[in-house]
């Protein structure tokens, strides 16, 4: 039996914890607010100059000189404000803001801060180096891809994407599959795509990386960035890779960037001896590829016992033009065919 006094004590305890938590939240807010107010106060005399430089309205460099001469506590406040502004503008104003930071030694300090004990400082340093878009920051940022803190690795990858130097492509791809927690695939892919065609060699190497996550991201990038140099390897990997996700991603990439001869590779992998998820991806990829030689195989697949595969095959036939639609009409009584045709009518693809 629980006594009233113990219920009262527990209630009081919970109340005390709530009050304490509310106090902590209020204290954090007050501290943040006072920091912001102090920063605004320190920055006030220099704010018009910062705005002028950020707007690209400092042709004579007068405002940049004023900002470069800022000293004392205002210098740190200015560095924060300039970093904030750097994420908002591009072009000449961004380059001039980086000049201001460089004149204060902030970029050199950011490189040093990549080794700071606080992961927050390391992540902020990586971000600042990325915003500076300075190719000299590539090597230290590549080093930060191996940081034990996930947020620092993510910041370094983002920063490398901002700099856009293809020298970082190989290390970025490798970092996706690094042991002990790699980079999120989407983040690495975004960063790599911003590096342009210069990553082509790294992609060819990435497709044969021992880690399947790296191979998957690489295959995705080959398709997304139209890297046709990788086509021979993509064909091999659809057939031979030990990892199913890699095979599926390669099939999707082949659908996007493949040639007419790739219809045979994809068609072969829609057959019953292959894993069901791969068969489905290949059926959809044939629609992307758009080669009508796949019509007989797809028409046969509309009879497949897997309803999802049958429906995908029917939808792909709709996308393959008159030949595909003629084959669909022949199998009009089948449920997947009816459903694909209904969808196509709703989407306005069929009259």
């Amino acid at each position: 039996m629980i006594s009233w006094s113990s219920i009262l004590a527990a209630t009081l305890g919970v109340l005390l914890v709530c009050v304490a938590l509310a106090g902590v939240v209020a204290a954090i807010r007050i501290r943040r607010h006072s920091r912001e107010a102090r920063r605004s106060r320190l920055m006030a005399p220099f704010r018009p100059h910062l705005v002028a430089v950020s707007a690209g309205e400092d042709p004579g460099g007068d405002s940049r000189r004023v900002l470069a001469d800022v000293a004392g506590p205002a210098r740190r406040a200015l560095a924060e404000s300039v970093s904030g502004m750097l994420g908002k503008v591009r072009g000449l104003p961004a380059e001039q803001l980086v000049e201001v930071l460089a004149s204060h030694g902030a970029l050199g300090r950011a490189v040093e801060d990549l080794g700071h004990r606080s992961p927050v400082r390391r992540a902020q340093a990586a971000q600042l180096l990325g915003l500076s878009r300075d190719p000299a920051a590539v090597d230290p940022l590549v080093g930060a891809l191996g940081d034990h803190a996930a947020e620092v690795r993510a910041s370094a990858a983002y920063a490398l994407g901002l700099i856009g130097d293809p020298r970082a492509a190989g290390p970025l791809l490798h970092a996706v599959g690094a042991p002990g927690g790699g980079l999120p695939a989407g983040l690495a892919a975004d960063a790599l795509l911003s590096m342009g065609v210069g990553i082509s060699d790294s992609l060819v190497h990435g497709l044969v990386d021992p880690d399947p996550r790296t191979r998957t991201v690489t295959a995705h990038l080959c398709g997304a960035g139209s890297f046709t140099r990788a086509l021979p390897l993509l064909r091999d990997l659809v057939a031979l890779d030990p990892d199913l996700t890699v095979r599926e991603t390669c099939a999707t990439a082949l659908g996007r960037i493949g040639r007419a001869e790739d219809a045979e590779v994809l068609t072969r992998h829609t057959q019953v001896e292959h894993p069901q998820p791969l068969r489905r991806v290949c059926a959809a990829a044939l629609g992307e590829l758009g080669d009508p030689s796949a019509v007989p195989t797809l028409a046969a697949l509309t009879h497949d016992p897997d309803p999802r595969l049958a429906e995908l095959a029917a939808s792909t036939l709709v996308r393959l033009g008159p030949q595909g639609r003629a084959a669909l009409a022949a199998g009009g009584a089948l449920r997947p065919v009816r459903s694909a045709m209904t969808m196509a009518r709703l989407q306005g693809v069929l009259p």
């Binding site: 704010r47 705005v51 690209g56 994420g87 908002k88 072009g91 104003p93």
Partner: protein, 119 residues
């Protein structure tokens, strides 16, 4: 001209850039203030952020297009950079869409062009 952005940095620099080019600019920090400013005096052009407290930039744009002055050119200035965001902006009736981080110089060119077309 009307500039609406909840980010003081952007608001100030766009206001400064356009003022330097000789335009009279009213800058406001949220969507509701933007709509009130538009209603009290329709601007020659509105530059709207998308993500603002209260009314979003898209909400303001919709209201402008349904107002008595639906032809006022509107430029969306946003960090929302996905194709679907840009599509939404144009579908609602934006005349232009600039993605942040942006070049102030390019923004000015676009504003000048939009204004020249309406004159």
């Amino acid at each position: 001209m009307l500039v609406a952005d909840d980010d003081a940095d952007i608001r100030e620099l766009v206001e400064f850039k356009l003022s330097q080019a000789g335009y009279a600019v009213q800058a406001v920090p949220d969507g509701l203030a933007a709509w009130e400013a538009f209603e009290s005096e329709p601007p020659a052009i509105a530059v709207l952020d998308v993500m603002m407290p209260g009314l979003s930039g898209f909400d303001v744009l919709r209201k402008i297009r349904e107002s008595e002055h639906p032809r006022v050119p509107v430029l969306m200035l946003s960090a929302k950079s996905r194709d679907s965001d840009v599509d939404t902006g144009f579908a609602i009736g934006a005349d232009d869409y600039v993605i942040k981080p942006f070049s102030p110089r390019e923004l000015l060119h676009r504003v000048n062009t939009m204004l020249a077309r309406t004159r």
